[in-house]
């Protein structure tokens, strides 16, 4: 492949990245954001896999076997806890507008400038080697691609301008400047950067998988073949040796713990997981998908390592470069180029995110606090603070990359890829105690964090960082029989005489001991200031408190002052917008010379925090707010009052909901009672009316008989008959009223039994046979062959059939034909039909005939022939037997009453005694 093509490809690739980032930024501005997506979020977290993963893992695997996996198993375990721990960090960061690890620590410990600055310093010193590592990887892999097989040791050669790493660093700085310093407000998302990084994550994964598949399955015959061949070579067996977990299990545990801390507290991880998080819910996906990504990208590391060992044997090929060298040696130049791009992606993604995260940290927590001390310098005011911040960040970005490059030039040949990365891991692990303790222990104090961080950092510098930079012989105690014989306790590789640990475990142990120990002990013996206690409470209880509760300012500032302050950092338009926004939410316009409400002061401080960091924001606010900040007790009182008020109103709401419910129930019950009362009144008046009719005629005839004159015996006899008949009617009526009221009261004295409806009907037919004979009407009664078992009270059911039959006979003229009675069992019920050939029932009356005392007035017979209670009683009986009573009728052709009763054994039979009114 021509050299110019190889030279051009990475820059073309960077151009593609520019395009993607630009496009993502465009989409974000037209609010079709690509970032609000759990998969983009997960892929951006995969910035964790750097060139170290891409090239270094193979190198490490050739020496130590599976140990390289610890760096990925740790994050897997940490991801399990993301929903618990990281979600809390994200919530805190979003509420307090925190944009970096340093700011998180500073804000937690009373918005301390000193702590913020210290954390920033640690991060910069700790991460610079890591950036250098990426530059080294880019440069080394490039050399392999260009000069294979001549120069494969990855040394930085040639002059400054010929060094590709410098050019790459310059382009990356440009990228970071373009997509990382667009907004001053660091809480605004860098969508272009995130999408570009997510894209790079896809490229590196596919690249690694392709070379893995190529090497494992095309070059060799699968992983089993590789294992067999390695096992056959005594020189390589070391790699398979299972008891060969170098450094033993202590080192294994240390690596897992170290990488657990790294996935949370590396500045670039904090940037993508916390600052760029759009929705906490994305963690649900990321917590399993990200470990899966790690697993996939590591799947072929061991096969490639084995293949490299077998393939190259004793040839001078750096194991770190096996990934590239294998396809090159096989003449697969395009695959090699693609693999190179994968590694390039891994390196550039890390450099871009890490440098942007560091630049925000440096500008907000190191430079800005210093600048604000000289804030009356006329020059600063003339440039404008806002623009100054942007220029500062750009300058810092360039300086950071230059720093990384310098470190790379200084130490390029000294280390394999992995060990440089681990040095950085130990540095960021120093952030774990102040952040984790600070999030769960209110007692952690500023002084404790300061002592702990300083102690841990000094240990790290002494035991890891300085030995990586300079000749160990310069250090005291390095040579046991050298100059500082008495000081061999200070040997950086065996501090205080502790031997038997590898360098990383050794440094991790001592730094954590000093860090956690110092932090806890000092915290236990110091008093926290008011602001520390307030911030501690807000951080620890972030899920329990609402975001707008926290007010620190008791003093006063005018709205105009606030707006002017905001405008200096955020721009006039944004400042005015923020004030207007607040006024809109409060529903009242704010005048410039009006006193600003505490809420607004607090909110302004948070806006400033997003731009210049929490410590500086506090300083700026205190410059315009007159009067004292609230004490811890004051703030807590407000917080508690608010939460109490919320609690009260919540309970009130609940109470009023319950009351509403009870009221509705009462209203319904009242309605029912009124209705029943009305029905009762109606019933009473109807009964009285019905009783009066026969009584009147009895009395009238009685009076005639009493007067006694001019009545012939025939007439007298006739009158007596009327009186008897009317009395019978009266008796019948009273009996029926009594029946009805008994039935109305529900099951009462009923005898619920399984019985055969055929017997019931038989009884009723024989009871009414006299009636039929009297009127000369025939009854056609067809008895079914099957049983008709139902559950019910036989007396009531006989009454039901008798009522229906007598009703039918009453309205049937003998000459019109017989009354039909049929009984047939259906699927789940028994149907009983009584058909007469009477005048029929008009449609509009069909529903009302079942009402009490309803009598069809328009009858051929002219005069009603019953009490009007018969059908009401029937209806009630059927209802109580869980059945239905319907009527079908064509006027002039008769009517059919249909009773349907459920068969015995159905669901209804569970209710043994239904005492409820139905």
């Amino acid at each position: 492949m021509p050299q110019w093509a190889i030279l051009l490809t990475p820059f073309l690739y960077l151009g593609l990245l520019f395009a993607i980032a630009y496009w993502a930024d465009l989409r974000a501005r037209s609010s079709r954001s690509l970032v609000n997506n759990p998969y983009v979020y997960t892929l951006s977290i995969a910035v964790y896999c750097t060139a170290w993963t891409f090239y270094g893992s193979v190198g490490r695997a050739t020496q130590d076997g599976v140990t390289f996996l610890t760096i990925y198993l740790g994050p897997t375990l940490a991801a399990v806890l993301w929903w618990v721990v990281l979600r809390k960090i994200i919530r805190i960061a979003h509420i307090h507008r925190i944009t970096s690890i340093a700011d998180f620590i500073a804000s937690r410990y009373g918005k301390s400038m000193l702590l913020g600055g210290l954390a920033t310093f640690i991060a910069v010193v700790g991460i610079t080697p890591y950036i250098a590592l990426q530059l080294k990887a880019v440069s080394a892999s490039f050399d392999v691609l260009l000069y294979y097989p001549e120069a494969t040791t990855g040394a930085a050669t040639g002059g400054l301008l010929e060094d590709k790493a410098l050019w790459v660093a310059a382009v990356l700085a440009l990228f970071a400047i373009l997509f990382g310093t667009r907004h001053v407000d660091a809480t605004e998302r860098l969508e272009g950067m995130v999408v570009a990084v997510a894209f790079e994550s896809i490229v590196k994964l596919i690249a690694f998988l392709s070379v893995g598949i190529f090497v494992t399955y095309i070059l060799f015959n699968g992983p089993m073949d590789l294992v067999d061949r390695v096992a056959a070579e005594p020189a390589m067996r070391e790699m398979l040796n299972p008891s060969g977990l170098p450094g033993g299990y202590t080192s294994w545990v240390a690596m897992i713990v170290l990488s657990m801390a790294a996935i949370l507290f590396l500045p670039r991880q904090f940037q993508v997981t916390v600052v760029e998080n759009v929705n906490e819910d994305h963690l649900r996906t990321a917590a399993w998908l990200f470990p899966l990504y790690l697993l996939l990208i590591n799947l072929f590391v061991l096969p490639i390592a084995m293949a490299g060992l077998i393939y190259f044997g004793d040839a001078p090929v750096d194991p770190d470069n096996y990934v590239l060298a294998l396809p090159l040696a096989e003449g697969r130049e395009l695959l090699a180029l693609f693999v190179y791009l994968g590694g390039f992606s891994a390196a550039t993604g890390m450099v871009i995110v890490a440098s942007i995260a560091l630049a925000i940290m440096v500008s907000n927590d190191l430079v800005m606090p210093t600048l604000l001390r000289f804030r009356h310098m006329p020059l600063i005011e003339r440039i404008g603070l806002r623009r100054l911040i942007v220029y500062l960040r750009r300058l810092i970005l360039i300086l950071l990359l230059m720093l990384g490059y310098t470190y790379f030039r200084l130490t390029a040949d000294a280390f394999a890829l992995v060990s440089i990365g681990l040095i950085s891991f130990v540095a960021v692990a120093q952030f774990a105690p102040p952040i984790l303790l600070g999030m769960y222990w209110k007692g952690a104090s500023r002084a404790g964090a300061l002592i702990g961080l300083t102690g841990g950092f000094i240990i790290w510098l002494y035991t890891l960082f300085i030995p990586s930079l300079v000749d160990p012989a310069w250090l005291p105690g390095m040579t046991p029989d050298g100059l500082f014989e008495g000081l061999h306790l200070l040997n950086p590789q065996a501090l205080f005489g502790l031997t038997g640990l590898d360098a990383i475990t050794h440094a991790l142990f001592w730094s954590m001991l000093f860090n956690i120990g110092g932090m806890v002990l000092v915290s236990l013996f110091t008093r926290q200031s008011n602001i520390e206690r307030i911030q501690a409470a807000l951080f620890v209880d972030v899920f329990e408190r609402s975001e707008r509760d926290a007010r620190f300012w008791q003093g006063t500032a005018t709205v105009g002052d606030l707006e002017a302050l905001l405008a200096r950092f955020t721009g006039e338009h944004e400042a005015a917008e923020a004030i207007r926004d607040y006024a809109r939410r409060q529903g009242a316009p704010l005048e410039p010379n009006q006193e600003a409400p505490p809420d607004l002061i607090n909110q302004s401080e948070r806006i400033l925090t997003g731009h210049i960091g929490s410590a500086s924001a506090r300083v700026m606010m205190s410059s315009i707010v007159k009067g004292e900040a609230l004490t811890f007790e004051g703030v807590m009182e407000i917080l508690d009052a608010t939460s109490r008020a919320i609690e009260y109103s919540r309970r009130l709401e609940q109470k009023s909901r319950e009351l509403e419910l009870a009221t509705a129930e009462l209203r319904a019950a009242n309605q029912r009672l009124t209705e029943l009362d009305r029905l009762k009144d109606e019933f009473v008046s109807m009964v009285s009316h019905e009783l009066r009719t026969p009584l009147t005629s009895i009395r009238a005839f009685g009076e005639i008989l009493l007067s006694g004159k001019d009545i012939n015996p025939d007439q007298q006899r006739e009158f007596m008959q009327v009186i008897v008949k009317e009395s019978e009617r009266l008796t019948r009526l009273i009996n029926q009223v009594l029946d009805l009221s008994r039935i109305e009261s529900g099951w009462g004295d009923w005898q619920l039994k399984d019985l055969d409806l055929r017997g019931v009907v038989e009884d009723a037919v024989s009871a009414t046979s006299q009636l039929f004979t009297d009127r000369g009407v025939t009854l056609e009664w067809r008895q079914p062959d099957q049983e008709c078992p139902i559950k019910g009270d036989s007396d009531r059911l006989i009454q039901l059939v008798i009522n229906l039959l007598s009703n039918a006979v009453k309205f049937t003229q003998p000459e019109r034909g017989p009354v039909h009675l049929t009984l047939q069992p259906l699927d789940t019920m028994v149907e009983l039909q009584v058909r007469d050939s009477g005048p029929g029932i008009p449609t509009q009356e069909q529903q009302r005939i079942f009402e009490k005392f309803h009598q069809i007035s328009d009858q051929q017979a002219g005069k009603p022939k019953g009490s009007g209670l018969g059908l009401a009683i029937c209806k009630r009986i059927v209802d109580l037997h869980w059945g239905t009573l319907d009527v079908e009728s064509v006027p002039g052709e008769g009517a059919t009453f249909i009773v349907r009763l459920p068969l015995a054994g159905g669901d209804h039979c569970d209710i043994s005694r239904d005492t409820e009114h139905r």
Binding site: V66, L69, L73, T76, L77, A79, V80, L81, W83, V84, R87, K88, P223, M224, V227, D228, L240, P242, S243, L245, Y249, W252, V253, I256, D281, L283, R284, T285, A287, W288, P291, L292, L295, L299, L302, F543
Partner: protein, 76 residues
């Protein structure tokens, strides 16, 4: 009700899973698998590590699956 009760349980389960995972991937359980035995032609330790890894990932996904509790919950 079930939502508010489900949330703290998820937290506890995740913590338990993290502890189990940490135990699975460390001494002394790891030492059981650090032998010369081969499974499917691969060293047992390699197979074990990747299997445990897959198991932890699957369990995490299972515990964090959606539909257990409201989306916009405020409680940890």
């Amino acid at each position: 009700m079930s939502a508010t009760r489900g949330q703290p349980r998820r937290r506890e389960r995740l913590i338990a899973l993290a502890i189990i995972g940490f135990l699975l991937l460390n001494y002394p359980l790891l030492a059981i698998f650090a032998t010369d035995i081969r499974v499917l032609g691969l060293p047992l330790l390699w197979v074990y590590l990747f299997a445990a890894w897959v198991l932890i990932i699957a369990c995490t996904g299972f515990l964090l699956r959606r539909g257990r509790g409201p989306r916009q919950d405020g409680q940890p």
